[in-house]
């Protein structure tokens, strides 16, 4: 029943058991629970790292009886890297969450840790899955366990945001399920390895295949925050407590990307139109996230929108993999690396956000303005993370963004003299603009928190005096999380290429023919264009547009994002809550009233001589006739039963007569 590498089973199922145990421990001792949770996440990280060593014996794990179709896990290159990444991020966020919850809201911590551990198990299940149904099972589990992380604060705003989270999760999950049905029915398997051979052997029509994949994409696209399925993201990321947001942004969104990798690398391999569509969705996500990030006056919302924007870049990379076909080495490596880089960067940034919130209980830029002055550790972490995310050479974001950018340029060269070249030229320009936006909103955050002074001098003095704003362990993990970034970025031919070499087989990628010269002038000049544009945008949009004079003559940040421009409130919610119920009710009422009319008609005929008045039935609030008046035309009581009985008898008699006449038997 259970066979294969037990370590894989441990990675996935141990957190579920540990979650329950932590809950029980937490009922007696909070301190013991905290230590237990840290130990569990550390064990997970260790197990994930150990996977590298154990993978040589057997890579797979099967549990045939699990949930009907069985569970199939695998620990190969890419999956191991994802597992290590998840373990690492969980370990760090757990450490910071213990201090965070002590200083902020300490209610329901037990619940939080239990569901955080369950989410860890589910996430491991997704990243290690080798069968699409396994992916789906853990994807659904993750959606619902992470719901508890989102709703943790339980204020009315948060409950509203979490409704949108769970709504999208359910919708996406079911769309994915539908897509999986189609794949299973047409291909006869959902085993990831077997999909491409099955596509060749069954000769499935391309239209069906693309439709199925598009449905599967919906679920994963929701989790990744892909336009136009992103509307939950700017609500839910800020709603969750910061350690939870770090998980959502750094890891759970990557579960969505994982799904896109599976589709692009294991099903629609090298499919041009698919890649084009993904590229366009990716660019739209990157731009929209960037714009929302720039225009927000809220520290955390800006980072949340930044996540959306960076995920847009990754999706562009995924799309370019398919567009480039066999020459997709750069796109494959770029999207894998940007995935890893973004996780690490957002871990650092959301941990900074957690530190800010546990000291100030606010994220409004005007409230936290100047908080970071004279706090070198915080500034170091934030600064490194920002240098990473905006893609400054020597930091990690530069490497991956350059690769994705180069892959677009490569296609422009391949498609030279065709119409596509112009189209992708436009995509390249938009890509650079989106990169500039990253620079713009990150400068906004950095200047607001670390350079400018607070409008209220008393507050600023308080900020400057606050030297114990975080404990030693938190300082250590913050600095570690920031210090990793240049390690990947400064020696990319060793670190970044190493990761990419291990991971690329998952996407059927090959190593490029020559080592990439990351620091060649062509690449650096591209980045400089982007950064220059970003600085200019910062000066114009933020300094001139968003810093407005207040009544007291001082300049303060304003929220420039037009709140009414909300796709969810304008389109999705009305469609779901008004239009669909209307159509449903219209339909149901029509059919119900036909039945009512029929019964009333029969009643009229039978009770022609003796119209009786009846009380309307108490529970029967549906149907046409209850709307009119207190007089129901549906006769109640035994007479009504007699009608129905009579109808049956008449039908039987009719049948007997007919059969007699036509002389059967």
């Amino acid at each position: 029943m259970l066979e294969g590498n037990g370590l894989l089973m441990f990675l996935v199922f141990f957190p579920f058991a540990a979650g329950l145990v932590s809950y029980l421990i937490g009922r007696n001792s909070k301190r013991a629970r905290d230590i237990f949770v840290i130990v569990v996440t550390a064990a997970e990280l260790a197990a994930a790292i150990f996977l590298i060593a154990s993978a040589s014996d057997t890579n797979d794990f099967h549990w045939h009886a699990f949930a009907g179709l069985g569970v199939h896990l695998r620990g190969d290159g890419f999956r191991t890297i994802m597992a290590i990444l998840a373990g690492f991020i969980w370990f760090f966020t757990t450490i910071i969450s213990i201090e965070y919850f002590k200083k902020t809201e300490s209610r329901n911590r037990n619940r939080y840790y239990m569901f955080a551990l369950w989410t860890l198990g589910a996430t491991m299940g997704i990243f290690l899955s080798s069968h699409l149904y396994t992916t789906f099972i853990f994807f659904e589990v993750m959606s619902f366990t992470s719901y508890i992380l989102v709703i943790h604060k339980e204020t009315d705003d948060v409950i509203d945001a979490s409704k949108s989270y769970v709504g999208f999760a359910v919708f996406g999950g079911l769309a994915t399920l539908m897509g999986l049905f189609m794949l299973q029915a047409n291909l006869g398997t959902l085993e990831m390895d077997a999909l491409i051979p099955a596509i060749e052997s069954t000769g499935i029509s391309e239209v069906t295949l693309v439709w199925a994949c598009a449905l599967v994409l919906v679920g994963f696209g929701v989790k990744a925050g892909m336009f136009p399925l992103h509307t939950w993201l700017p609500q839910s990321y800020p709603a969750a407590p910061e350690p939870g947001t770090a998980l959502l942004s750094a890891i759970l969104s990557k579960a969505g990307i994982f799904g896109m990798f599976v589709i692009t690398g294991q099903i629609l391999l090298h499919h041009f139109s698919w890649g084009l569509a993904l590229t366009l969705f990716g660019i739209a996500t990157a731009l929209l996230g960037g714009i929302m990030g720039i225009l927000s006056d809220n520290f955390k919302k800006t980072i949340a929108c930044s996540s959306m924007s960076q995920i847009g870049f990754i999706i562009v990379g995924v799309g370019m993999q398919a567009v480039l076909g066999h020459h997709n080495a750069l796109a494959v490596r770029g999207s894998i690396l940007h995935l890893v880089n973004h996780s690490l960067i957002k871990l650092a940034l959301f941990m900074v956000a957690a530190v800010i919130f546990m000291n100030l209980k606010s994220f409004n830029l005007n409230d936290i303005r100047g908080f970071g002055r004279k706090k070198p550790a915080l500034m170091f972490t934030t600064g490194f993370a920002i240098l990473g995310v905006i893609g400054v050479p020597l930091w990690n974001g530069y490497v991956s963004k350059t690769l994705i950018h180069e892959s677009i340029v490569e296609y422009i060269e391949i498609a030279e003299h065709t119409g596509w070249a112009y189209g992708f030229k436009a995509i390249e320009v938009l890509f650079i603009i989106a990169g500039g936006m990253t620079c713009c909103y990150m400068l906004k955050l950095f200047f607001a928190v670390f350079v400018e002074k607070n409008n209220d001098p008393a507050k600023q003095a308080q900020f400057d005096a606050n030297k114990h704003y975080m404990s030693v362990p938190v300082t250590v993990i913050l600095i570690i999380s920031a210090a990793i970034l240049p390690v990947i970025g400064a020696i990319p031919n060793i670190t970044a290429d190493g990761i990419a070499d291990v991971a690329q087989h998952f996407l059927h990628g090959h190593s490029p023919e020559h080592a990439v010269h990351y620091f060649s002038w062509v690449n650096i000049s591209g980045t400089l264009k982007s950064l220059g544009g970003g600085v200019a945008a910062y000066l114009v949009i933020v300094r001139l547009g968003m810093l407005r004079k207040q009544s007291d003559g001082k300049k303060a940040y304003v929220n420039a994002w037009p709140e009414e421009l909300d796709l969810e409130k304008k389109v999705y919610r009305p469609a779901l809550l008004t239009v669909l119920p209307f159509i449903g009710a219209l339909f149901a009422r029509s059919v119900a009233s036909i039945v009512d009319w029929f019964t009333a008609f029969v009643g009229k005929i039978i009770f022609l001589k003796r119209p009786e008045r009846f009380q309307p039935p108490l529970n029967n609030e549906f149907g046409t006739f209850n709307e009119e008046e207190k007089e129901s035309k549906i006769p109640q009581g035994i007479s009504y039963s007699l009608i129905m009985f009579g109808a049956g008898v008449v039908a039987v008699l009719y049948f007997i007569i007919i059969s007699f006449i036509s002389g059967w038997r």
């Binding site: 009886a65 049905f181 039945v595």
Partner: protein, 492 residues
């Protein structure tokens, strides 16, 4: 030895009648009596199901074709097992619950009698026997529905009788047709219309007959537009709603339709015809309709009743695919839905019993006040929605797979309905869960739920036991599915 089969049928009926006569004054004695009868009957029915050698016993023979005959095959075993085991669980639950309803003696005597009648349906070997017990079931359960004997209850009771009897009379038309054209009235997997010469030329008539049977027996399975009695019957005491209106009676409808479809008409004459489409479309409509009605219903028990309406049509839809895979999907959902829905009703009953609150809005903050009860509710709700790896997903997967495999466009449309219904299910069940665990901030939950506590063990043990069952067999459903597959292959 085969006469043993009639014991699980007539023993509870006799004991129920005896209980009417004995009329215990002391609650304790009656509880011992009822519990021992139900447990004994469960044991007997299960043992006989697996051991009776000849497996067929004729009680009365009227003519060559018409007789009262009992036998056990795979389908009876499934239905019989579900009912027998859940009956005992529900018995213990109702011991506690019925304390506040009164007239316990009458209640338990009819409750016990119904057990026998349902076993009669399960063990019947031909259409006439099944028809007899099918009608008897209506009569035996009517006093349970009308238990409160107020105006609402009697109105619901009349509705129940009118719908059921009319439905069964339509089913009778089909039986007459089958008598004319079939080789016998016995249940044979694959159908009894094997005499090609007799059938030839009358296919359309037989299809009309099938539609009569589908909607006639479908009344008990609450097919649209004959669903109305089920939400109304929610006025019955909760153990009745839980056991009869989520498991025994409604599953009897499903059981009868699977008998008629797979064992009498046979799928060959129906597959691909208009009759299949009419039945399938009715089921698809009911799936969405039931779920959307559940969403707009604010009364907990009626919301669950509409949810049952919708879920029963999952089974009907699956059966109407008319392939062996469809039968497997339908049976799997019959088992899983029974376990999950009876638990949800138990929870609703526990809430009504402890607090008297009947509406969804009144459940703010119950997660803290009734932790065990709401935990059972949450897990079973998630199972019903189909969140993997809990129970519902497996049956929905099997149903959808059967629908996709048969390749029929209407069947594929049914999958869309299943998915739409899953969204609605999430909405109407999660509304309760969210209210229970994340109450609004503007009300004082502690004050509101001052006296709210979990009920005692007679109620919580059945709920939690079934919940545990649903978790374990949700994760490992293979043993059941293997059995269902061997039934659908005609082996068992």
């Amino acid at each position: 030895m085969s006469f043993l089969l009639i014991i699980p049928i007539f023993f509870p009926i006799a004991m129920g009648l005896a209980l009417l006569a004995l009329n215990f004054k002391e609650r304790g004695k009656r509880q011992i009596y009822v519990a021992s009868v139900c447990i004994a009957n469960m044991i007997m029915s299960i043992v006989f199901m697996f051991t009776v050698p000849a497996r067929e016993f004729t009680l009365v023979r009227f003519t060559d074709t018409i007789s009262i005959t009992f036998k056990v095959d795979g389908l009876s075993t499934v239905f019989g097992m579900i009912v027998s085991i859940l009956w005992v669980v529900a018995t213990f639950y109702s011991f506690e619950y019925m304390k506040h309803e009164g007239k316990e003696n009458k209640f338990f005597s009819f409750f016990t009698m119904s057990f026998g009648v349902v076993c009669g349906i399960a063990f019947s070997a031909n259409l006439i026997t099944m028809y007899l017990f099918y009608e008897l079931l209506t009569m035996a359960t009517l006093p349970l529905v009308m238990h409160a004997m107020d105006q609402r209850a009697s109105s619901a009771g009349k509705k129940y009788v009118a719908f059921s009897i009319t439905g069964a009379s339509f089913g009778f038309i089909a039986i007459m047709l089958l008598m004319n054209f079939g080789v016998s009235l016995d249940f044979v997997y694959g159908g009894i219309l094997t005499d090609q010469a007799a059938v030839a030329g009358h296919e359309v008539l037989l299809q009309i007959g099938f539609i009569c049977a589908f909607f006639g027996f479908g009344v008990k399975a609450a097919i649209f537009p004959f669903f109305n009695w089920l939400p109304s019957a929610g006025v019955a005491p909760t153990p009745v709603s839980a056991l009869l209106h989520a498991v025994a009676v409604v599953n009897a409808g499903i059981f009868a339709i699977s008998r008629v479809t797979y064992y009498s008409f046979g799928t060959d004459i129906l597959r691909g015809t208009w009759a299949q489409y009419v039945a399938m479309i009715a089921a698809i409509v009911t799936i969405v309709f039931g779920s959307s009605m559940a969403l707009r219903e604010n009364h907990i028990k009626r919301r669950l009743a509409y949810s049952t309406v919708s879920n029963l049509s999952y089974m009907l839809f699956s059966l109407m695919i008319m392939t062996p895979e469809g039968l497997v999907g339908g049976l799997t959902h019959m088992l899983f839905h029974s376990v999950l829905k009876i638990t949800l009703f138990f929870v609703a009953g526990a809430i009504i019993y402890k607090t008297g609150r009947e509406y969804v809005d009144q459940l703010e903050g119950f997660g803290k006040s009734m932790p065990l009860t709401m935990a059972a509710f949450t897990i079973c709700s998630m199972g019903l929605i189909g969140i993997p790896p809990l129970m519902g997903i497996t049956s929905k997967w099997l149903i959808s797979k059967a629908a996709v495999d048969c390749g029929d466009p209407v069947a594929v449309a049914g999958i869309v309905a299943l998915i739409a219904s899953a969204v609605l299910t999430t909405l109407y069940l999660f509304e309760i869960i969210i209210k229970a665990y994340f109450p609004r901030k503007d009300i004082d939950v502690a004050e509101l739920n001052k006296d709210v506590k979990d009920p005692n063990g007679l109620m919580t043990v059945p709920m939690l036991g079934l919940t545990a069952f649903s978790i374990i067999f949700g994760i490992f459903p293979t043993p059941f599915i293997d059995v269902f597959q061997s039934i659908a292959a005609g082996l068992f």
